[in-house]
């Protein structure tokens, strides 16, 4: 399925250079990319190719050295950290490789806390958190702490948290890397539903060949340069 809607995110001519002693390292070179609603894009590349850096830039966590980013049709000023935080808060969900749940909070509280940050409070936030936990099939584990959850369950909570506030874009970094086969399959099904049913753009950084099967596009980053594979599953 190739979406025709205007892109959620459009990045043009992105460069990212890190100082390294007296020299410099160019982590991302002249990358241009557009992500449309409902589209699933897979980003692959060898270790150190700049995947995480690119994901951080697209997720408004890191400012590019040069280039422009448009989010939902609006240009973003990379020098305005307040505006970048606002975009993250309102429109971007993250799924991390290591889940990164808050140890001191239960599954439902992890989701509720994200909702609190996104401006929802009180009973409304708790109801929404419960609904999201149910959506990822963890109602029976809603009050368990992360340390009592399996890796797959933790990642499902992480997905529920990423969906809090109904974001336009979800960025997932190696979401199946720390999971067993079966849990990985479940997470992939969940992410696919997130994009297709919710009309969200989804970008997944992965080495997992199963992810290619659900992707619309497959991008390959090598030494900071982006190219597109001819067939998503190839």
């Amino acid at each position: 399925m190739i979406p025709v809607d205007p892109p959620v995110l459009r990045a043009e001519g992105i460069h990212k250079i890190f100082p390294h002693g007296r020299s410099q390292i160019c982590a991302v070179r002249n990358v241009s990319i557009a992500l449309a609603p409902g589209e699933i894009v897979v980003l692959e590349g060898p270790s150190g190719s700049g995947k995480t850096t690119l994901l951080s830039i697209l997720g408004c966590l890191l400012s590019p050295t040069s280039g422009r980013i448009h989010f939902n049709g609006q240009a973003l000023d990379p020098r305005d950290p307040g505006r970048l935080a606002q975009v993250r808060r309102q429109a971007i969900g993250f799924v991390f490789q290591q889940h990164n749940l808050f140890d001191a909070l239960t599954a439902v509280e992890n989701v509720e806390y994200a909702l609190n940050i996104r401006g929802q409070r009180g009973r409304a936030a708790r109801r929404e958190a419960d609904a999201l936990i149910e959506k990822v099939g963890l109602s029976h584990r809603r009050n368990a702490f992360p340390s009592d959850l399996s890796g797959g369950e933790q990642q499902r909570v992480s997905v529920a948290r990423a969906l809090s506030g109904d974001p336009l874009l979800v960025l997932a970094d190696e979401p199946t890397a720390s999971l067993d086969w079966q849990a990985g399959e479940q997470i992939l099904g969940l992410l696919q539903a997130v994009a297709r049913q919710g009309g969200r753009a989804l970008m997944i950084v992965t080495h997992d060949p199963r992810v290619r099967l659900v992707a619309d596009r497959r991008l390959i980053l090598c030494d900071g340069e982006l190219s597109e594979a001819s067939e998503p599953g190839a």
Binding site: L61, L62, Q86, R88, R89, G93, F94, E174
Partner: protein
């Protein structure tokens, strides 16, 4: 952090130690300091007339007893009586001698001295060679009972009562003796003389105006409002013993220990949860959310530490009392220490906040 039990326990114990140190030291300090002026605060006098430059209530300097008539005739004065506060030598059954601070009045009941009695009464003080002795004297004088005799300045006086809480800064025992009897115990210094004049004002009289008039009539004496005289008595001991500096150093060290422990453990805990703080930033949380988390941790540690330290202090109170010491812990003082504890814990948390506020949210993506 509350789920990181060993680290949280270390934080709370650090705060509790500092709180107990400050409460016990300050409580003892306030107790000792109160002894320096308790008789001034308890006596029902509005003004005290002293000899010129008398340093504190225990060190009375004699002046003519007849001055009391000039005071009594001052407009606005309801009543004025002579009070002698004098150090006397007390012979003990063991053969040794000790000192006591004797208070001499004609009418003790009128002036509310002594203010508490555990045994006997002051009525018999005017009926012979009698004395009321504070029960704390047992520490220095050994056990005694009502009906026993002790030698005051070489004269046998019968103990007709035991006072309670009549203490002096130096812990020298306090005795209450009839005014004329006390004069006769040291006639060379006290015959026809007094060391203070207690003044009670008529209702509605202006204390400052009356004081000014008495001062005019007794130009070689000093006249104090009661609270000023109490303050002067306390200030003397603070200034001359270095007690204030000692207390400042102790409180400072207690606060320092608390701040260092809290800052160190909060910082370590914060650093070990960097990734979680990065996630807060990544999902759009600002520094306010992060500071909120750190503040909650610091406040919780402060409240639990204060409770634990407070309980330890209360547990130590009977032991302190057995040593004959007084520890004053009133609500206002506890509230100040609680506010200080929370404030210092928040100050300690600022170290963690400064570090986390500069944290790159992209850390959340790093494996």
């Amino acid at each position: 952090m509350a789920r990181d039990k060993p680290r949280f326990a270390a934080t709370v114990l650090g705060v509790a130690f500092a709180v107990a140190l400050v409460l016990i030291q300050m409580g003892l300090f306030r107790g000792i300091l109160q002894n320096a002026s308790i008789s001034v605060e308890k006596a029902r006098a509005d003004l005290w007339v002293t000899s010129r430059n008398t340093a504190n209530v225990d060190y009375g300097q004699p002046f003519p007893a007849s001055y009391v008539n000039r005071v009594r005739s001052t407009p606005g004065v309801l009543r004025a009586d002579n009070l002698i506060v004098w150090i006397v030598r007390v012979g003990l059954p063991s053969g040794s001698t000790e000192l006591a601070i004797a208070y001499g009045l004609e009418d003790f009941l009128r002036w509310g001295l002594p203010w508490s009695l555990s045994e006997g009464g002051v009525e018999d003080l005017r009926r012979g060679n009698n004395a009321v002795l504070d029960e704390s004297a047992q520490t220095r004088f050994g056990a005694f009972n009502v009906g026993d005799h002790r030698e005051f300045q070489g004269r046998r006086l019968k103990i007709v009562g035991k006072a309670r809480g009549a203490l002096s800064f130096t812990t020298t025992p306090v005795a209450f003796i009839d005014y004329h009897l006390l004069q006769s115990l040291d006639p060379m210094n006290l015959s026809g003389r007094t060391t203070y004049i207690l003044v009670r004002l008529e209702p509605g009289a202006d204390p400052s105006a009356v004081r000014a008039e008495i001062q005019r009539r007794l130009p070689h004496n000093d006249v104090y409002l009661s609270h000023e005289w109490a303050e002067r008595s306390r200030a003397y001991w603070l200034d001359t013993t270095g007690l204030g500096l000692n207390m400042f150093v102790t409180v400072f060290l207690g606060c320092l220990v608390g701040v260092v422990v809290v800052a160190q453990t909060l910082f370590t805990s914060t650093m070990s949860h960097q990734r979680e703080f990065a996630v807060v930033k990544a999902i759009g949380g600002g520094n306010a959310e992060i500071y909120g988390i750190i503040v909650r941790q610091a406040t919780l540690a402060a409240l639990l530490g204060f409770s634990l330290g407070g309980l330890a202090t209360l547990a130590a109170r009977p032991m302190v009392s057995d040593l004959g010491l007084k520890m004053i812990l009133d609500g206002q003082f506890l509230a100040v220490v609680l506010a200080g504890t929370v404030g210092l814990c928040l100050l300690a948390s600022s170290v963690s906040y400064r570090r986390i506020s500069r944290l790159d949210p992209a850390v959340a993506f790093r494996a």
